[in-house]
Symmetry: C2
Subunit: 320 residues, 2 copies
Amino acid sequence: MAVYTEVSDADLDAFLRQYDIGEALSCKGIAEGVENSNYLLQTDRGNFILTLYEKRVARDDLPFFLGLLDHLASRDFPCPTPIHGRDGAALRDLCGRPAAIVGFLAGMWPRRPSPDHCRALGEATARMHLAAADFPLRRENALGPAGWRALFEATRDRAHEVHAGLARAVGDELAWLEDHWPRDLPAGIIHADLFPDNVFFRHDRLSGIIDFYFACNDFLVYELAICLNAWCFEGDGSFNITKARSLLAGYGAVRPIGRDELAALPLLARGGALRFLLTRLYDWLNQPEGALVRPKNPLEYLSRLRFHQGVKSPAAYGLD
Amino acid sequence: MAVYTEVSDADLDAFLRQYDIGEALSCKGIAEGVENSNYLLQTDRGNFILTLYEKRVARDDLPFFLGLLDHLASRDFPCPTPIHGRDGAALRDLCGRPAAIVGFLAGMWPRRPSPDHCRALGEATARMHLAAADFPLRRENALGPAGWRALFEATRDRAHEVHAGLARAVGDELAWLEDHWPRDLPAGIIHADLFPDNVFFRHDRLSGIIDFYFACNDFLVYELAICLNAWCFEGDGSFNITKARSLLAGYGAVRPIGRDELAALPLLARGGALRFLLTRLYDWLNQPEGALVRPKNPLEYLSRLRFHQGVKSPAAYGLD
């Protein structure tokens, strides 16, 4: 939810002359995408999304992200398709920032996800994992376990401002996860940020997945651990096992989940909760000047972490 | 620049069934319009703007605003056209707020207004004044001189937080304007907020004027006084007389400016500067919790006020 950079009409016209997508009819900053400036661009040829990459996205990562979208789109996976300019490049500069145009994806994200949404999400996630299997580039998960300690160190001294005892709870969990994190599970490219606002539906059918700017190489089942956190808790903090079962069944119908993957799910779900707890805590304590974003409450994820800590077996997620 | 209300997909679908404009393909909050929540709504029939009126817009004023747009559109003035539902109504409720859909207006607002933009603005403003002349509803200017004292009283005690001596400067000017404000100039309906971001252009031709939510009955030439403030100062605070001359010449070519109107222009320009100084000061001191808006700096308008205070005759605005 951010628009940081003001693009002038003259700059935009010059930028668009490098493409073959017609001329701008309008270009409006939209309240989507936390990390970048996004604009809904309408030309006489159609609708597009123009993204200016702000400083939180590393320029060196952009060929990975845009290449992945090209790769997935070429396999008919419903994701934004990068638009290549007359010179063949999908990535160039606008207003001093890296910028790209992607095709517009119709649909709306579900404000109240249902079990059916979760099943469709599971199926699409598995299809995405399979479609990305032969993508040749790699990107480490900067927000995986190796990145958590740095976030912890950057937040521990002020964590009590958010919640008494939070630094201790996070520190204990982090130490435990560092000791127990699995080393050998099926891995590949994951989206790593599959929250409801990144998944579009039309008539309850999944129409597209967006915002691949955390995509990376990691355990495939860690993606499901994130989805359990992001889709299967209700507003009151309770866990909806029907949604979890639908999510996992949808995924498993396309790519069977291995026994080792299932066994690791409770631990990975703790990791997923800790990851969002840490990044939200960091953002809460470090609100950038001029951002149009209100940080999300980190404590939701402390509550989710507590839930997963109490899980004794994958059966808690609706699995047999 | 605000999106305050989250509209769910289910609520939107039910809302759209009251219209004959097709079904939603997407609906994205856009970073335009300070007072309301605006969404770019795409259906299988076209593009629209959905507006939810937040609390700063009085519900009783909405028939005036929407009726004015209907009236202007019926006279081929390029403004957003209200979409009427199957029941004939243009105004209904969504998510507990008054809501309306208007047609989408292509174009982009000029980030760097040129004299040609100012001339086109002047022409369109005069056409708008003439087209609105027989609109039957009335609305007082709540932010005209009668409203300034209340804003002053609400800000004077903390004005020094923004600038030393500001309360005194504003109070003196307000007293002077109250004594000297004209009583008898040609009046009619004015837009009253003709800033560059409310005026769209395509290929340097004016394609539309939006955001009529300050429209009211007032002196017609007061509109030009606001435009002088909003369009004719450079980023460094200097006054661009070429732009002012173009603005007034464009207007005068469509609706001649009377001698009494010209004579009043320097005084009205002081009033226009004070109006935006006061509202920006109020917003600066009263930032709403949760707003995605950064208030604009009020001091720009102190500097503009100082300029107009030094003007001895309309010649300073490029007039002969």
